[in-house]
C-alpha cells in the first residue's frame, strides 16, 4: 500500500473520518469495533403466548474456539420486552463442547408477548491481551405454533451483530452506528404466494428509530405504506393481509444499514420463517 493510501486509510478511520463517511454514505462504517474480550450478540425476536413458543439453541463457543483449554461457557441471557425494556437477566454455565436449549416459555413466565433477547458467551476469566476476536452469538432461534400438531421447530439465524457486553459489567452497549442518509432495503423475495405474512423488525441502535415499510404490487406500485417508530432494543411486528395476493414484494426505508426483517409467511397447514 502506498504512503498516500495508508494516510487516507488512517484519516478515514478516525472518529471525524467515520462521521464524514457515514454522513455521505460513502464506505460507511456501520460497526463500532469493540475490545476483543467483549462478548457480542445479535438481538433475536422471541414470541411466547397462548399460541407460540420460542427456543434458542446455545453451544459452548469458548470451548470450540479454544479447543485445547476445555473451557466452561458462562452465558448471560438478557430478555427485553417489545418496548426494549429489560425483562429478565439470567446466567447459565455450559460444560465444554456441550449445548443448551433455552425454552422461552420457561424464562418469560407471566411476561407473555414478544420482544428481543441476547446471549453473551464469556470465559470465566478473559483478558483483552489474550483474545484474538470477540466471541459472537449469531443464532439459532426457532419458533413453534402450539396449535400445530407437530414437535417440529422452525429455525432461523440472527441477522446482524447488535450488542456488546464487557466482562464483569451487566449493561451491554450497541455495536451499530447510524448513517445520516435514508437507506432502502429490498428483501429479494416474493410475497404473493401466501395470504398472510408478518415482517418483524428489531431496533439495533441505542436510540429509537423510524422505519417506513412499503408493500408493492407486481408492477412495483405502492399498495400500502406503514410508518412506525421502534424503541431501542425493541421489536415491531407488521402484519399484512394478502388474501387478494396484491402484495408481491416489500421494502423498507430507515437510516440503519442492513435493516433486514424476519419474515413469517403463513400457509394452509404451517408457516415459514426466514430472514429477508
Amino acid at each position: 500500500m502506498s504512503k498516500l493510501k495508508k494516510l487516507i486509510n488512517k484519516i478515514a478511520n478516525t472518529a471525524p473520518g467515520i462521521m464524514l463517511r457515514n454522513s455521505l454514505g460513502w464506505k460507511a462504517k456501520v460497526y463500532i469495533e469493540m475490545p476483543l474480550h467483549y462478548s457480542i450478540s445479535d438481538l433475536f425476536f422471541w414470541c411466547c403466548d397462548d399460541n407460540w413458543n420460542t427456543r434458542f439453541d446455545l453451544i459452548n463457543l469458548p470451548s470450540i474456539l479454544s479447543p485445547q483449554k476445555n473451557l466452561e461457557d458462562v452465558v448471560t441471557i438478557l430478555f427485553y420486552n417489545q418496548k426494549g425494556e429489560e425483562l429478565i437477566r439470567k446466567k447459565i454455565v455450559i460444560p465444554p463442547l456441550q449445548s443448551h436449549v433455552v425454552y422461552v416459555d420457561q424464562i418469560v413466565g407471566e411476561n407473555a408477548g414478544f420482544g428481543t433477547m441476547a446471549f453473551f458467551h464469556e470465559k470465566k476469566e478473559s483478558k483483552e491481551s489474550e483474545e484474538f476476536s470477540c466471541i459472537t452469538e449469531h443464532g439459532f432461534v426457532a419458533y413453534r405454533r402450539l396449535s400445530d400438531e407437530t414437535p417440529l421447530w422452525s429455525y432461523v439465524h440472527g441477522s446482524a451483530f447488535v450488542l456488546a457486553k464487557p466482562p464483569g459489567i451487566d449493561k451491554p452497549q450497541t455495536v451499530r452506528r447510524s448513517i445520516s442518509q435514508s437507506l432502502t432495503y429490498r428483501p429479494q423475495v416474493v410475497m404473493s404466494d401466501c395470504s398472510r405474512f408478518d415482517l418483524i423488525y428489531i431496533n439495533p441502535m441505542a436510540e429509537k428509530q423510524q422505519i417506513v415499510v412499503r408493500a408493492l404490487n407486481g408492477s412495483g406500485e405502492e399498495v400500502e405504506k406503514i410508518k412506525r417508530v421502534i424503541p431501542e432494543r425493541g421489536a415491531e411486528r407488521f402484519s399484512f393481509d394478502n388474501e387478494n395476493r396484491a402484495i408481491w414484494r416489500i421494502e423498507n426505508d430507515s437510516s440503519i444499514f442492513n435493516w433486514r426483517p424476519v419474515i413469517k409467511k403463513y400457509y394452509e397447514s404451517h408457516f415459514d420463517v426466514f430472514h429477508g
Partner: protein, 265 residues
Amino acid sequence: MNYYFLPKIFSLDTTLTITNYSPVSKPHYKSENQFIYITYSTGEVWKLFFFQEIAPGKIASIESKDLPSEIPEGASVFIFMHPKRLPDTLSELFSDPMMETDPHWRGNIQFRSPTTAVSYQGEYPDNMLNIPKGTLLVFNPLIQTQDGINTLVVSINITSKPEIKTGTYFISKLVSGEVVRKGNMKTNTINIADMEGLTNSVKDPLCFYSPDMVALPIFFSYDPSFRFLSLEHSYPINEFCIFGDSKFPRITEIRRHWMKSLNYE
C-alpha cells in the same frame, strides 16, 4: 456473482426466485438486462440452457417443472444470471463482481408441499468456486430428532471445473467422538443425506464435517405428511467471532486443529 440451486426432494415442488435488483442501492451496480441460465455438469463440461431474459427491477421464478427436458434425470441443477449471452457449453464456471453487495444478493429457494412451503434465502457465492483443499466443519447442525420428524442435510458443492470428484462426510458426537454416520459427497452436486435414526443430545451434540469437501449445508426437516416443514442453513466457525486483525488466520488454525482431532473411523 452468485450461483443458485434447485434441489429435488421427494415429491415437493422446488422454486427458485431471483431478482434483477440489488437488496440495497449500490453505487457501481449497473442496471441492465440479465440472462438467466440453467446449468449442470456432465463431468467434462458445463451444459448451459438459456431460460429467460429479465429486465432491471424484475423478478423471475424457475420451478422444477420448468427445467429443460434435455437435462438427465438426477442431474444437479444450478442457476445463474449474466448480462451477456453465453455458449451452450462452458469449460469452467466463472466469477463476476456484478452481485457483490452487502448484504448479499440472495435468491429464494422454496420447497412446496400441497399445504405449506419453506424457503431458504441464500446463494452460493462465486468466491467458493475455487477453494483449494477445502473442508467442511459445522458445529451447529440443525438436525431435528423429535418423534415423527426427520432431517435431510442438503450439501451443495459447486466448483468452477466440471469434474465430479467424490469426498466423504462424517457426523459424530462432539464429546464422545463417536462417528454416527458417514457417507459420500460429490463435487458439482446437490448432495442429500438422510439423518433418520440419529439422536442429537445437548450433553453430546452432533458435529458435521468433511475433510475433503467444501459445501454449503442446509437442513430440511419435515413430518411424513409434509404438512410441517422447516429449512435453514448453518454457518461456518468464522461467524462465531467478529473483529480483530488476526481473526482469520486464527480461525484457520482452529479449523485445522478440529479437522485433525475429529474422528474419521
